[in-house]
Symmetry: C3
């Protein structure tokens, strides 16, 4: 199967990557998320869609923030949630990745939320479960290496659709360390699929991958030019470890050239929204005045993220395995 996340009936059976998700499927996920947003506003926030189902957060790489969002989403759907920090356990006993997953599947897991430092790990597990469990046990990729982080990409699309409605009229600038960002990759694929006519990448050449133009992305090295007349600004986290290396001169220097400040923001459209996947380095890639300002939708992204994860989980749970 060249696309293990979609079955022969066109249903989503895993969420591995935004790459390869049809436009209609993305909109279905966003529509479902929209219906859940009222759930998080209600007094009682639970719906019974995953009652009696077991969701395993299998994190081979620690990420409390990401794990928490999936844990909350699963609990709001009434699922049983088991958190496994695998780094510290079985694999240290020399058990293979597949043995670990086979064991958990044998405990009647219904869904795995997987975070792994290696690109392709989630896809590898999904292919295995398609073979051994007919795809009736589902995988959600919660970040694999530099490859993909599809729920973040989808929540970003939800956020843009919420504030800007029509993708086909937007100019979007992604700013910062695109080279090391799994989020940027997911966002570029999703924006292209959804018909966004102009996606820009803005950053120093040391932090931009070489193949961007081939993906239809316009490259800018000057922030003012990159932000000119855009509708959406997506900031990215600058990893601390990059700041000390040869890739950028210093955090101060980086902020001077690529930090999102009120001044720079003026080059964008007056109603442009400012996004960031978090956690933010205030004073490095974004100024606090902007992060907490009227154009920031950063906390809305977090709220939407829960609804998007609920949507993905409920869609997967309703699918019928590899043969539809």
């Amino acid at each position: 199967m060249h696309n293990p996340q979609i079955n022969s009936a066109g249903e989503l059976i895993h969420l591995l990557s935004v790459e390869g998700l049809p436009k209609a499927m993305i909109h279905r996920i966003l529509d479902t998320a929209e219906s859940f947003l009222s759930v998080t506003d209600r007094e009682v926030k639970q719906v019974p869609l995953l009652r009696g189902k077991s969701v395993f957060n299998v994190f081979f790489e620690n990420s409390t923030r990401t794990r928490t969002t999936f844990e909350i989403a699963a609990k709001r759907l009434s699922a049983d949630v088991v958190n496994l920090n695998i780094g510290a356990s079985s694999t240290s006993k020399g058990e293979s990745l597949l043995d670990t997953i086979d064991n958990l599947a044998a405990m009647s897991a219904d869904m795995f939320v997987v975070r792994h430092s290696e690109s392709g790990a989630a896809t590898f597990l999904a292919q295995h479960l398609n073979r051994t469990r007919d795809g009736a046990v589902h995988v959600i990729n919660a970040g694999d290496g530099r490859h993909s982080h599809p729920t973040q990409g989808l929540l970003d699309m939800y956020t843009i659709r919420h504030y800007k409605k029509d993708f086909t009229k937007l100019r979007v600038a992604i700013v910062g360390d695109i080279l090391h960002s799994r989020v940027a990759r997911s966002d570029i694929h999703a924006l292209t699929t959804l018909g966004c006519p102009e996606v820009r990448a803005v950053g120093p050449s040391t932090l931009l991958p070489s193949h961007l133009e081939g993906m239809g992305v316009k490259v800018f090295h000057d922030l003012r030019e990159g932000l000119a007349d855009v509708d959406v600004i997506m900031g990215l986290r600058l990893q601390k470890e990059r700041m000390k290396g040869a890739l950028i001169p210093s955090a101060q220097e980086y902020f001077k050239h690529y930090g999102l400040t009120e001044d720079k923001l003026k080059y964008a459209k007056p109603d442009a929204i400012v996004m960031h996947p978090g956690p933010m380095n205030r004073g490095v890639e974004i100024d606090s005045v902007v992060a907490d300002g009227p154009q920031s939708v950063i906390l809305s992204q977090v709220t939407f993220g829960i609804a998007v994860r609920m949507a993905v989980m409920s869609i997967l749970a309703s699918s019928k395995g590899v043969n539809g």
Copy 2:
């Protein structure tokens, strides 16, 4: 707002400190706890008061024991509980305390149980949530630095009221390391508010703060004198790290002078109760014969503690935010 834990209608919207809690509010919490005690005795121990609510145990400082008591209390109220050991995650990525809390609040948290090593951290967060969320997201202080540990103070009051009924006739001795104890501070405030006519502090001068007399507390350096005719003896944990320092000569020496033994206990009233917040250093601040003896109510404190935490959570959940 000079007292961020109480709203304009006089409702409790956060529990930050026993200091500033009116007497009627304390009694309301204890009365509510009493009604929950039958819950813990029942076959099925759950009540649905927090069904669909999300309680986040946000521990910036590790304390499995304290975290467990809140986790149990929240689950008995049917809440969804998410445990976050923040020390090991986001803050290590350089995210600020407020960004962490804003993010969790954006995930539709209803209540934060916060433990932090710095005094005032819970109050700081409550003030922030009063501004950004109108106080509709609640904070319970589960211990901040040396400052306050209000649920421990309240469960101590519950225990005393349970066994001794009338606070206005009691002589209470708090024994040991009052200088470093957030529990002692909460207890002194609560006892004073509830009308206890005589609160004593007993310990070596190196372990007693200087301002005790200003709080209306009688200071004793001799344990026999301090225990004479008291109704309630509250032992305190001696931190291991103090035992090696210059504050006390040795654990043996400390036990000789300030350890609660059967012999010393005879100076108190015959029906005096012995309390301790745990975990105990047997043979240091308390002898096993006393800890496990007929006057010890130490395990009852633990049981009452669950009910008191349920009471606080249910009262907070029923409050209406900053404007009542």
Copy 3:
């Protein structure tokens, strides 16, 4: 009480060891597990037998895999589950094992699942709870030192009964590091109690305890001879640390002599089943072709294990304490 796990009415009030469990009790556990297996196959996998009960996973020794199986079993019975990794908390504050357990019991725990590195720890706690709580708070031994791991023994019996029906006609070979295996010990006791006429131990003399023959076990040092005409082959995990020591020459050498390969498997009956408690060292004690082959029931063991743990928990919860 010489057998603290069974009360005066013959009810199971703790599960400490397979040793001393009457045959009828073992079959009752297996029968109950069988009734739960349909639960794990159903769409909604929960039954309300432990609704409102609190199950504490108290692990003084880390084991994510074992903890997870109990967590899932408890959640399928609708219990509240609290996970406590005690190694990292109270005992590091110098609290005694009994104080820790007394405290948790005072929080109205209904059941403790205990893992401890010291033999007899679970029995010690059960005896204490029989004295202090009349055995109304239950202990399940989830592994204590080299002593016992009774739920693993019971799930092994479930697996054998499932595939082979009648114990009284079976030849069973346990292969590998029996000396350090708490599983082997539990299995030998259970097989003997259930009437299995021939239990074999196969391994190098350095990995076999000396008292095996006294337990009615036949000892073999040659794998081909040991497997000849057996119905059941139970592989055991070889601890990594043994491989470097003086007990075996090397992993390669061990595999050559005692590794379960297709070739060796031919000496057993053609319909013999192959079991392993996991996690496996592929290429050390078992070849992947065998582990994943048609005679392997290793993943079924995992599935049955959840049902067996549900059975044990539900039977304990329905018992009436020390006096029946």
